[in-house]
């Protein structure tokens, strides 16, 4: 063999070895630094995690007032709970004898344990708030309209899953708060019995009993229930949420980005200086593939004018929202500890036994009728929310805050009506009681059908029908009803949180609660 060739092979080997780190970097990030329009584009579509975004983003979507960053904030809060939750799993043990102690360990012994637990708790709360606000913004900007109807439904799935995650997480510390909130929750699942009992068919048809049995895995809250809630909390619901989130984001892209008014480009006039024509090299846009796809995608026939590269414009904004969410969660976790009461005691109910705050509105309704408050009205609300995009087929006002007939003026009135109606009914009940106090022998079925909860629902429904007639518009009715729903949620939650004391009696302030 010729020594010269050996030499070059060895040289080449060393060269390659030295070049390896650089080449690993280059092969991982193939498109190079995102400095030109082209490399910025490939930065997005060349990356598995970023390519759910489109390469360019319309300026309208980037306006702060379009989204207020609420969807991203929800995502951020979810990511924070994901990371801290996995950390908590290192020490948490889902068995009744040890669950409480393991949380105590996390709180008092594990390094950074208390901080992580606090962050997890607070991020979960932040997520509930941002998801509700995000739904409100999608509603008020009429962003649910064609072609986004189905994404609104996916959103509802996300809302329910988010609430499910909070509810299942609440049991895990196995303290008094947890135990009695879950006892009440499981019995709400059983409450269809209120109706089947009244009609006398529970023996043959007992959906309530089945729901409770499936939830608890037993006929009382015990080790089986804890395992089930744990499984739901750390496995099933997060997977469902992640899958739904994936579909949610993907559809936003397929629906042509975020909803914007027809005249968005005109409304943006004055900002064109930030953008410049995209197809400077070869202005040929081909639609050949699109020819075999049914209908037209939302971006066909529209130039990419008034768009900017997603990298950096959108991504940096998203990062900013992530940081802001993180900041809020960290700050809350520093100033306020996640609660831990005494260990669960099946023989002494917590008094008052309160669920997490976002369920206290429901708990207020449940204190009128378990079935109506816990199942009947929530079902009506969810069906009603789900139908919104299919009943409102109008086009005016899409992408504009409080868009549609009536607009902001209608919403203001609806706020007054929504708060007023709910407060009036509550005041009546708190002051004078309800049917059973007036007619001790009233049949249960009557109480289930006619109670403060159904009355409030009816008042809201009637108002909304009146609005549809008055403005000749389904959107006007929806604006009124949704606003009333938010107001009712607010009033009931506040009453349940701050004005209900032992025995669920109304007190002006917790300092008036009887000592015991």
């Amino acid at each position: 063999m010729n020594p010269a060739t050996t030499n070059t092979a060895m040289q080449e080997f060393w060269q390659n070895l030295r070049a390896a780190p650089r080449r690993i970097y280059e092969t991982a990030f193939r498109s190079g630094k995102p400095v030109t329009d082209r490399t910025r584009s490939s930065f997005v579509f060349g990356n598995l995690f970023l390519h759910l975004h489109s390469v360019r983003t319309h300026l309208w979507s980037l306006r702060w007032s379009t989204t207020m960053g609420l969807g991203i904030a929800s995502t951020a809060a979810f990511l924070i709970t994901l990371v801290t939750g996995i950390l908590l799993m290192f020490y948490y043990k889902p068995y009744p004898d040890v669950a409480y102690d393991s949380i105590k360990d996390i709180h008092f012994v594990v390094p950074t344990g208390r901080f992580m637990r606090n962050i997890h708790r607070w991020a979960a709360n932040v997520m509930v708030v941002t998801v509700i606000l995000h739904m409100a913004r999608a509603f008020y900007t009429a962003a649910y309209r064609r072609p986004r109807e189905f994404n609104w439904l996916i959103g509802l799935g996300l809302l329910i899953t988010t609430l499910g995650l909070s509810f299942t997480g609440y049991l895990l510390p196995w303290d008094q708060l947890a135990y009695w909130a879950i006892t009440i929750g499981a019995n709400i699942a059983q409450s269809p019995r209120e109706v089947t009992d009244a009609v006398g068919i529970t023996e043959y048809f007992d959906p309530g009993g089945l729901q409770r049995l499936l939830l608890l895995g037993s006929d009382e809250v015990g080790s089986e229930s804890l395992i089930r809630f744990y499984l739901l909390h750390v496995m099933i619901l997060p997977l469902v949420l992640a899958a739904l989130m994936g579909v949610h984001f993907w559809r936003i892209r397929k629906d042509g980005g975020l909803a914007k008014p027809e005249d968005a480009d005109a409304r943006l006039s004055g900002r064109e200086r930030d953008t410049y024509p995209v197809f400077t090299e070869q202005p040929a846009k081909t639609y050949q593939l699109a020819a075999i796809v049914r209908g037209k995608t939302e971006v066909v026939n529209r130039g990419p004018e008034n768009t900017v590269p997603s990298m950096p414009h959108l991504f940096y904004a998203e990062l900013a929202v992530l940081m802001l969410t993180m900041l809020v969660c960290l700050a809350l976790a520093l100033v306020s500890d996640a609660p831990l009461k005494d260990i669960a005691n099946p023989n002494i109910p917590e008094n008052p036994a309160k669920a997490p705050w976002y369920f206290l509105g429901l708990q207020e309704l449940v204190s009128f009728s378990a079935f109506m408050g816990g199942i009947g009205i929530p079902t009506i609300v969810i069906i009603g929310l789900g139908l919104i995009p299919y009943l409102d087929r109008e086009r005016t006002g899409t992408g504009v805050w409080f868009g549609g007939p009536g607009g902001w003026k209608l919403v203001r009135q609806a706020v007054a009506y929504g708060l007023g109606a709910c407060l009036a009914v509550e005041a009546l009940v708190i002051r004078f009681g309800w049917l059973r106090e007036w007619f001790p022998n009233v049949p249960q079925l009557i109480v289930t059908l006619i109670n403060p909860a159904t009355l409030i629902t009816l008042l809201y429904g009637a108002y909304s029908v009146w609005l549809v007639k008055r403005y000749q518009s389904a959107r006007a009715g929806a604006l009124g009803l949704f606003t009333c729903f938010l107001c009712g949620f607010l009033v009931l939650t506040i009453i349940g949180t701050w004005f209900r004391g032992p025995n669920w009696v109304f007190y002006w302030s917790p300092s008036d609660w009887p000592r015991h």
Partner: protein, 161 residues
């Protein structure tokens, strides 16, 4: 030569399913059926056949002094026991509204969770509870009594030692 002989068809028309595509249809339907049966199994598993809860029967000895109108609540049990001239009876203390434990109060019981009130025989007098507190089965057992928290009896059923 044309690549696609025959009448021109739009890409938007649905394609006819070839009738001889047996294998394709068979795999489609067998998958669907397998999934369906799989779902039955998946749905059946979480519904427990045997419940893990501890025995609901227990023995109590009533205090000698227990008189009519007084109540005896054995520790760790969800039962209130009474004794009057006609005999002994047990009323469940699990609220029929949403399962909190009722406490003894003036004229009967009250529930801490949503304020339901019951008279001493279990009848609802106030609040959201849809049903009276059930009476539970009591059997005399040689001076003491056995109470079965799992079995209800019609209100008014009393037992003598």
């Amino acid at each position: 030569m044309t690549l696609h002989p025959g009448p021109t068809r739009s890409r938007l028309d649905p394609e006819p399913v070839p009738r001889r595509d047996m294998l394709g249809l068979a795999s489609l339907w067998s998958t669907a059926l397998a999934m369906l049966f799989g779902m039955f199994g998946i749905a059946r598993l979480p519904k427990a056949a045997v419940l893990s809860s501890p025995s609901k029967k227990f023995r109590v000895t009533l205090p000698e002094t227990l008189g009519p109108g007084e109540v005896f609540m054995p520790a760790g049990r969800k039962v209130a026991l009474f004794r009057d001239a006609e005999g002994v009876y047990a009323v469940s203390t699990v609220c029929t509204h949403l399962g909190c434990l009722v406490k003894q109060a003036e004229g009967g019981f009250e529930c801490p969770c949503h304020g339901s009130k019951f008279s001493a025989d279990g009848t609802v007098t106030k609040g959201p509870a849809p049903q009276p507190l059930p009476w539970l089965k009591v059997t005399a057992a040689g001076g003491a009594f056995t109470v079965d928290e799992g079995e209800m009896v019609p209100p008014g059923t009393k037992v003598n030692a």
